[in-house]
């Protein structure tokens, strides 16, 4: 594979640079910080003609980002985890302003207990905020998705902000070969941002984010957001086709891996999908007819595309790297809902919870997932949520508890 070796974070910074972002409000947080460091350096050297401002918090950062986009400049910003949650109410404001910026979230598990490594409770907490969401598996996809995200966000049929998600550590700090798109071709793919319905100027005053009284106007504007978000399914396909024509790389709403004759299908997202694909290869070598579906676009939810790839399968397992305590996996629920009306729906849906706080997914765990899913398919009865936690994990935990002074735990 050709390209420069770079981390997912640097690929994200390159995405912003190639997209011609003009304004970058920033705030550092692990594991995202490398993105804003790279952008600050480029803005300072003049390599990137953009204004870089460090705000006092992610809450302020997100407000400045949305306000600038609403004024009519192309805005890029990035955060992680606690930062995303600190900005949470502003996410809803920015989408309500219909301000089309791109926010990179570098996934990191949420406190407490505080930790640094990845899972998806941060980004999925933001699933209802009106931001669209694209989740990337590779460093190349991070960069490419940022370009596609601007194209979708700024389309008059959409006009909504987009989160591009990558996994902390596993992708943010992992070097992979990344082909840098030709800036001239990027300019063709992504024309300058000239919003028709946004901006503040003396000759055309504009009131944005005003209060509404009563449910009717509120519902009207919320319905508008929903319909615009759904439009992004079509706009993504147009953008993906154009992207493939110009750059030779194809991205779909969902990605299928070895699905052709697959009886059972594992559904995953983000960087760990690479582990899942390797596990599919290993299972196939043992004679199992399994495949993998990676959900790339999470919002809007590509229900029809999901039904298309899962229709007629024996069993489907969803591996959620998130946990809604007392409920289970978030994506499992969404997937189950969209399969309910499918006549040829799978005979069994299985829910697995793994990879929380960056916990590894071992070959043995994948093998167990495939075995249990096949059995569920045979029985015609789904299982879960199964919390993946191995004996090795438990031995490690007991050892830690021993050091912490808590003995006799079993």
């Amino acid at each position: 594979m050709e390209g420069e070796m770079m981390t997912g974070n640097l690929a994200a910074a390159w995405g912003a640079r190639l997209a011609g972002a003009e304004y970058i409000p920033a705030f550092p947080i692990t594991p995202q910080t490398e993105i804003v460091e790279a952008l600050a350096k480029w803005c300072e050297s003049g390599a990137m003609p953009a204004r870089f401002v460090t705000l006092d918090s992610e809450h302020s950062m997100m407000t400045a980002a949305g306000a600038a986009a609403a004024t009519g400049v192309r805005v890029f910003t990035a955060t992680s985890s606690q930062g995303l949650l600190y900005a949470f109410e502003v996410l809803y404001s920015v989408s309500g302003w219909r301000a089309p910026l791109v926010l990179v979230n570098v996934s990191r598990a949420l406190a407490a207990p505080i930790t640094l490594e990845s899972d998806h409770n941060d980004v999925l907490a933001a699933r209802d905020c009106g931001f669209l969401q694209i989740h990337a598996e590779t460093c190349q996809e991070v960069l490419d998705s940022i370009l596609i995200a601007y194209r979708i966000a700024e389309d008059e049929r959409v006009m909504l902000p987009v989160i591009v998600n990558l996994d902390g550590f596993y992708l943010s700090f992992t070097r992979e070969p990344v082909a840098l798109p030709d800036p001239e071709l990027v300019a063709k793919f992504l024309p300058p941002f000239h919003p028709a319905h946004l901006g503040f100027k003396a000759s055309e005053p504009h009131a944005l984010g005003v209060a509404v009284l009563g449910g009717t106007p509120y519902s009207y504007f919320r319905h508008q957001m929903h319909l615009a978000a759904l439009n992004a399914l079509v706009v993504h396909q147009e953008a993906a086709a154009e992207f493939e024509r110009l750059f030779g790389r194809r991205y779909d709403l969902v990605e299928g891996y070895r699905l052709d004759d697959a009886e059972d299908v594992l559904v995953m997202t983000n960087a760990f999908a690479s582990k899942g694909k390797a596990a599919v290869d290993a299972a196939r070598a043992e004679g199992r007819r399994v495949g993998l579906v990676r959900l790339r676009m999470i919002r809007p939810w590509p229900a029809e595309a999901i039904r298309h790839v899962l229709r007629g399968r024996r069993a489907v397992a969803v591996l959620d790297q998130n946990l809604s305590p007392g409920q289970g996996g978030i994506l499992f629920q969404e997937l189950a809902a969209c399969l309910y009306h499918e006549t040829l729906r799978p005979l069994a849906l299985c829910s697995f919870i793994g990879g929380l706080g960056g916990k590894n997914l071992s070959e043995g765990e994948f093998r167990t997932i495939f075995e249990q899913t096949a059995e569920a398919g045979v029985q015609g009865k789904g299982i879960g949520p199964v919390l993946l936690y191995t004996e090795a994990d438990h031995r490690e935990m007991v050892q830690l508890q021993g050091i912490a002074g808590k003995v006799g735990t079993s």
């Binding site: 304004y23 407000t63 005053p205």
Partner: protein, 309 residues
């Protein structure tokens, strides 16, 4: 040295043109709105108001706005960050030639004391530190007014709010002293800070006019006499605002690059005259007079003015 007004010497010099039009959902007799109306006579229409959650949020209620300028509602805690985004974006557009200079706007934050004194302190501090070129207009009615007058950090000692009621344990109502936001702002060394009151229009207009010469943060703390929260008849707002200043409780002052000047030296009538006008202080007089509380309030004012002339 006596402070001299240079632009606004007579009341007829105040422009007659209105920039905040009537008919909003705000309460009758709102002292904050009167202060804003006067301020807008200097600010004009080429303005974007960046609003924090509070009473003034109801100024722009779909499909109406009382302004000929622009408006952006943000959140309770981040209006100054919204101002940062708008200001930076306008600068970028102008620098790139995508927006003619004549389309430029003044960026004005509108926040109440609830936002200003507490929740937005981080974003305000950040904006001042970054030397953001903007106006900050705080309408201070000394309570969370939009929710029905609850205790804020701007509530003065002795006032009764719905969450700092007068009781046997706390006969004064509010126990804490009003936070000194003027000095907190001043510690950040912005070029211009002023307090204003709606009953002193020439003082107010002169200050907005003087502030215009400074690039950077220009912060205004406006007394927002509040019939709804302070419990007096809306028609008495001018008298309440006047007595707030004449008793010395609301000093009119400015700080230019940190140097403080009192722009009006009141003869300092007894605080009692001001307190007696308002229901929020009635428990200091009925059913039993709380002399100690009243003396405490008077002593705080006396101590503030010691050495100021």
């Amino acid at each position: 040295m006596t402070w001299q007004r240079e632009t606004f010497k007579k009341i007829k010099q105040i422009p007659r043109e209105e920039h905040v039009l009537p008919g909003t959902a705000l309460c009758a007799g709102c002292g904050g709105l009167e202060a804003l109306r006067l301020a807008a006579k200097v600010l004009g229409d080429d303005v974007i108001y960046v609003n924090a959650a509070g009473c003034f949020t109801m100024l722009a209620a779909y499909p109406f706005t009382p302004f000929k300028g622009s408006w952006l509602y943000t959140t309770m805690g981040s209006a100054p960050a919204g101002a940062q985004g708008v200001r930076d974006a306008l600068d970028v557009l102008i620098a790139k030639g995508r927006l003619p200079e004549r389309e430029n706007l003044k960026v004005v934050v509108l926040g109440g004391d609830g936002s200003t004194y507490d929740m937005a302190l981080s974003s305000t501090s950040g904006a001042i530190t970054r030397n953001l070129d903007f106006y900050y207009f705080c309408y201070d009615n000394e309570a969370y007014g939009n929710t029905g007058a609850q205790l804020s950090s701007a509530t003065p000692y002795g006032a009764r709010t719905t969450t700092s009621p007068c009781s046997l344990q706390h006969p004064s109502g509010t126990m804490q002293e009003k936070k000194d936001i003027f000095e907190i702002w001043r510690a950040h060394k912005p070029p211009y800070i002023a307090t204003v009151a709606p009953r002193y229009p020439l003082d107010l207009e002169e200050k907005f006019s003087r502030a215009a010469q400074f690039t950077g943060p220009k912060l205004f703390l406006a007394l927002a006499a509040c019939p709804t929260g302070w419990l007096y008849d809306p028609g008495e707002t001018p008298e309440v605002a006047k007595l707030a200043v004449e008793t010395g409780l609301w000093p009119l002052k400015e700080a230019v690059n940190g140097a403080v000047t009192h722009t009006y030296i009141p003869r300092r009538r007894p605080v009692e005259e001001y307190l007696k006008l308002q229901g929020r202080f009635r428990h200091l007089f009925e059913p039993t007079r709380q002399d100690e509380v009243i003396r405490h309030i008077q002593a705080r004012v006396d101590s503030y003015w010691q050495g100021i002339s």
